[in-house]
Amino acid sequence: MNIRLRINGKWITFTVKPDEFLLDTLRNNQIISVKKGCDGSTCGSCTILLNNQPVLACSLLSVRADESTILTVEGHAEEVEKIAVAFGKEGADQCGFCNPGMALMIIALKQSHKNPTDDEIKHYMVGNLCRCSGYQAQFKAIKRYLEERL
């Protein structure tokens, strides 16, 4: 069946199977910034913004997303660049596999919280797993980005 998605500002029609997940639809169509880390909605690597809400693409059926607006890191280039700079300055980059998903989560955090407390930041980000960093540098980088110290 066909579905229509507005991905990073552009309407695209995809032919999908009824049991196909959005993550596979995106990756199979070369939208590779969305990462497959666990295939079970437990790691956060496949986070996208669906109608401006953070969603795990690995556990959303593609057909359920029909006629939706999807943003990946490419669609938020300016903010992602700032987050990347903050990550770089704090040494928060390691393997980076979780970073595109994390960046989108950080953007969603900024949109939904005016001045988040440390606790709010941590609780908001808790679903985005990272095995490399120990989270400390990422936390500092998120604060740096939110405080616009770039």
Partner: protein, 778 residues
């Protein structure tokens, strides 16, 4: 220094965050065959019949592989040099399956759905055998896990498969039994360390195609591209020059990608079909069918005088390598060789034991590589000894630990499966690490514990640790630098960036030496066709070994550029000075690097300046650290909050202080996961039950409240710009530091990892039942 020891952002972090094509699966060819593996439902079984007729007949299926139609030549998946100290006990596919999740057959089909359907259509008849699931009963068990006769060791490692023994080792300095006997006090305890999952965020991934020259080209998420090339060539009988392995960005490894997991089958599919093929492990496969850390039982005895002098350490280890013997001997040996030298003033020390096979997923390399297991036992024992002698545990350490300028006979005796290399500690800042850490954790105000109300106790605990910097006389890294027109450089290295940032720090070393900026050094790494050799990312070797190669290579390039400048300026080379941008002669004539490189590229005396250098260590200077933990523990629930973790590290000069901190902090949190709750668990029939992130929890950003990480001033003369390694040292201290903090808080000692709240509360319950009260405050 302008580039080295500077907080430079990683050179590729931004591109990765922007979602650019970077990881292995991003490079798979559209239309690749999807490779899926049918995996064993039994912990141990012999395949008596396998019928693939229906699977092969399914529309869209291009190839089905079973043990009947693949080459049979024993190999090891472990990427660790050659010849390997791991037994060659694995086949591409075998008639035996040795753990739940082992490979039975392999299907390549046009899409995932078809491949999975075909796997389900393979009709397998198993003779189910009695598995060995308890490693303490594995040795000489009536079940022999590797009964086949065409497996072998590459050199003597104590390989006795008929007894389920993958390896064994024994070494002794002095007469341990006698020294123990003559000591004022002797303490003896056993410790158990669990299987830990690597849980890197990127699953094991590989894809293959045949290029226009008919060569097999792999993109692989691996820590060891050169070993992958060699092992595929040997096992599949493909000439090695017909294989190219490219490692793009890797999404974490931690040892879990220091071996082949899919590379062999995907290669065979592409070789047989001529079609591009790919495999991405499901998260379940990452858990069930890759590697874990080696579980161990460590029996340790320490003999000491009443004044705290440690006379002897006896360490016996039983290690569980699971179904295959990857890294079996060497991980087990490192539990001694990178642990016991911490207390080098002993009259006798013994290290012995064996590594056994069980019907569980194979254990493999894992950050710390035995040292975390051994450290948990030894550093717990030191606190127990202090308590027994009524001495301060930190003073007891300071009285006995290895110091700068000193050595240990163990360095010379124990190496990578063979004998080791004698060395003195040119840098060892343990006293400074301890003293600084004590201040940062506020030790004197908290030790041993403080009641903080609401049934909670605050306490502190600590441990010291050492690791290594590569494997002397074995690990080799190489670098090539090319000067381009307009005066910028290419740096190509075999070294394998798996997220730890080696591309960045090696570029820093090159840029510093060449007196340029990091943007003028273009890095390309880990491509067996285009980059020089490197053993890969393991054994904490890249900064020290490859870093030295890059440094040598850059010096050689400067020498070549001086010669070219002398020719251009028509002066003697000794009259020239170079500041990174301009060559100036004492006669004031000068030429810029830009002009010189353009000149030799386009107009006069044309030549391509390229230098290649390689390096292997003649020693392995250990990084050291002191780790301190502050915890709040709830007496009623056993719940532990990690309030603060302090790491003070001597890793020589940090090439990049930001990235070094990231290495330490990431390792601390991974070590805390092992200390507190991570555990690979099996059902009574040997099926892994902790096979996703719901049943196997890794630390989240909520698990540690505060970390302080500092580096002590230290300069290792043999390292590039004074550096030692930093990749693994961080993981070693958390288990013992936590066990010691819990002992300080509750006067209970837990010797079995992980130290869960359930274990804490049960141990407290047992203690209280015996009427033992918290009255042993020291």
């Amino acid at each position: 220094m302008k580039v080295v020891n500077q907080k430079i952002p990683s050179i590729d972090g931004k591109g990765i965050m922007q979602g650019k094509r970077a990881f292995t699966d991003d490079y798979s060819e559209p239309g690749s065959l999807i490779v899926k593996v049918l995996r064993s439902p039994h912990a141990f079984a012999k395949i008596t019949d396998i019928d693939v007729t229906q699977a092969e007949a399914l529309d869209g299926v291009k190839l089905v592989l079973t043990h009947k139609n693949v080459p049979r030549k024993a190999f090891t998946r472990a990427g660790q040099g050659y010849p390997e100290p791991s037994p060659h006990d694995k086949f591409v596919l075998d008639e035996y399956v040795r753990y739940v999740g082992d490979e039975v057959a392999c299907v390549a089909a046009i899409d995932e759905e078809t491949a999975l359907k075909a796997c389900a259509l393979i009709d397998v008849t198993y003779a189910v055998l009695d598995p060995v699931l308890d490693f303490e009963t594995a040795y000489e068990h009536h079940t022999v896990i590797h009964p086949e006769t065409d497996i072998h060791e590459m050199f003597p490692i104590g390989f006795e498969p008929q007894k389920n023994q993958a390896a064994s080792y024994h070494m002794e300095v002095g007469d341990t039994e006698k020294v123990l006997h003559d000591s004022d006090v002797v303490i003896k305890h056993s410790f158990y360390t669990q299987a830990q999952a690597h849980a890197m965020m990127e699953p094991h991934t590989v894809n293959a195609r045949i290029d226009i020259h008919g060569r097999l080209v792999l993109y692989a998420a691996t820590q060891t591209p050169f070993h992958v090339r060699r092992i595929i060539s040997q096992a599949l009988d493909v000439p090695i020059q017909k294989i190219r392995v490219i490692k793009p960005r890797v999404g974490g490894g931690f040892g879990g990608k220091q071996g082949l997991h899919g590379e062999m089958l995907v290669s065979l599919v592409t070789l047989r079909t001529g079609m591009p093929a790919k495999m991405v492990f499901t998260r379940q496969e990452v858990f069930e069918s890759s590697y874990t850390r080696h579980p161990m039982r460590i029996d340790m005895a320490i003999g000491a005088q009443k004044n705290g002098r440690i006379n002897a350490i006896d360490c016996h280890i039983l290690s569980d390598t699971g179904a295959y013997g990857e890294h079996a001997l060497t991980v087990f040996m490192v539990a001694g060789s990178k642990v016991l030298p911490l207390y080098n003033k002993v009259d006798a020390v013994r290290f012995h034991g064996q590594v056994v096979y069980t019907n569980k997923v194979s254990a493999g390399a894992y950050r710390g590589y035995g040292a975390i297991q051994g450290n948990f036992a030894l550093e717990s024992m030191i606190d127990m000894l202090a308590k027994k002698l009524n001495l301060d545990p930190i003073q007891l350490r300071e009285q006995n630990m290895i110091l700068e300028g000193e050595s240990s006979p163990i360095f010379e005796i124990m190496g990578e499966g063979t004998e080791g290399t004698a060395m003195n500690m040119e840098t060892c800042k343990l006293p400074e690490c301890i003293s600084r850490g004590k201040t940062l954790i506020n030790w004197d105000a908290i030790y041993p514990y403080k009641e903080i109300g609401n049934d909670k106790i605050k306490s502190v605990g600590m441990a010291i640790a050492m690791q290594g910097s590569g494997i002397p006389y074995i690990d080799m890294g190489a670098a090539t630098i090319k000067l381009n027109d307009a005066g910028f450089y290419n740096l190509t290295i075999g070294a394998t960036d798996i997220g730890q940032g080696s591309d960045t720090i090696l570029a820093q070393i090159a840029a510093e030496t060449l007196m340029t900026t990091i943007d003028k050094v273009i890095v390309y790494s880990s491509d067996t066709d285009l980059t020089p050799f490197d053993v890969g990312a393991y054994a904490s070797s890249t900064t020290y070994v490859t870093g030295n190669a890059v440094y040598k290579c850059a010096l050689a390039m400067i020498e070549r550029m001086y010669a070219a400048a002398a020719k251009a300026l028509k002066v003697h080379v000794d009259t020239i000075d170079f500041d990174g941008e301009t060559f100036t002669s004492t006669d004031k004539s000068h030429i810029s690097l830009v002009d010189l490189s353009n000149r030799i590229t386009y107009s006069e005396d044309q030549e391509q300046l390229t230098t290649t250098s390689s390096y292997y260590g003649i020693k392995s200077p250990p990084p050291f650290m002191a780790g301190f933990v502050e915890i709040d523990v709830d007496k009623e629930t056993g719940e532990v909050d990690i309030v603060h973790y302090v790491s003070v590290v001597d890793c020589g000069v940090t090439i990049n202080p930001l990235m070094a901190r990231g290495q330490v902090e990431g390792a601390i949190v991974q070590g805390l996961g092992m200390a507190m709750f991570e555990e690979v668990k099996y059902s009574s029939k040997g099926k892994m039950i902790s096979n996703d992130f719901l049943s196997y929890k890794i630390p989240t950003c909520l698990d540690v409240q505060k970390m302080t990480t500092e580096f002590i001033d230290s300069y290792e003369k043999s390292g590039p710009f004074g550096a030692k390694s930093v990749g693994e040292i961080g993981i070693d201290t958390p288990p013992a530091a936590l066990a010691n903090a819990i002992s300080n808080a509750l006067n209970i000692r837990i010797n079995t990892l992980p130290i869960t709240k359930e274990k804490i509360i049960m141990t407290l319950f047992e203690k209280n039942k015996k009427g033992d009260h918290h009255d042993e405050k020291q």
